[in-house]
Symmetry: C2
Subunit: 141 residues, 2 copies
DNA sequence: TGCAATAATAGTAATACTTCCTATTATGTT
DNA sequence: AACATAATAGGAAGTATTACTATTATTGCA
């Protein structure tokens, strides 16, 4: 078996992901890591993101915007993709831990993990919407 | 506003998606629709899949295998991506309808819909695994 | 029924995003 | 220090998807 060797680039990628809650794409990780390793290549970033997600160090998120996002908080937790500002954010509050077992009760296969992506409005965009509605009420009522 | 006009190709795409439970990719939809419309182009398939998913006629599913899958069963329901045979299947049994409200209780934004993707083994692959394990027990124990 | 307006299409070019390839460099071991 | 090899940089190649444009299909109306 090929043993995994340490690499500064991989450490920088993981360190960056652990330092942010912004769920960056590969491209954003690349731009960030380039600040400390100007010679790093996009291929290296992709190879390591794949390696880290395969060994469970990070999560791979898809929200329907075409590209993939990465998250170093590996415990299954829900995300929200805002349909207004297109930001991808962590949702506070745990999902019921028995989410999978409820489903598994009806199913003879094996459920090991899940990814829950919510769609709607983030707090900021929901606030804006409320303000706009308030104004409308002012003018018409 | 541009009004949407009828198109045979779009109808064929939707009809096919409604006739199957296999969650095909754009490429597979293309191959299928080509049987009735040999001249159809991949661009048309993509444009219509986007249109149909934007107007809520179909769902867009991502299971981490790189491409997108489409589903004409539009009610939010859970899916399973089998890590062994890589098939993407519907999970029976409803998710608790209060799944979103539980989360929304802690959140000031607005949650409108969700996509729940489970990972593990489908019934078929889970069965195979059990048989292999049984054999091992035979030989070693 | 025929005509005008325009949405949708086919076919192709262009654009992501991601992986693959190869010579070179970094890491870990003896 | 020397060896074995994992990992890298840089660029080429491969997919999945979108954009462009001349042509065709659909719709509303005379």
């Amino acid at each position: 078996m090929a043993t995994t060797k340490f690499s500064r680039q991989r450490e920088a990628i993981l360190r960056y992901l652990k330092s942010t809650t912004s769920h960056p794409t590969a491209e954003l990780v690349y731009n960030e890591v380039r600040k400390s390793y100007p010679q790093v290549s996009l291929g290296t970033v992709y190879r390591n993101l794949n390696l880290l997600s395969e060994n469970g160090s990070i999560l791979r998120l898809q929200c329907g915007d075409g590209s993939e996002h990465f998250d170093a908080t590996t415990a299954s937790h829900p995300h929200l993709f805002c349909r207004e500002c297109h930001s991808l954010i962590d949702l506070p509050g745990a999902v019921k831990p028995d989410l999978l077992s409820d489903i598994a009760a009806d199913y003879r296969g094996r459920l090991e993990s899940y990814s829950l992506m919510c769609f709607g409005l983030c707090e900021h965009c929901a606030d804006l919407k409320r303000k706009v509605n308030d104004k409308k009420e002012d003018s018409y009522g």
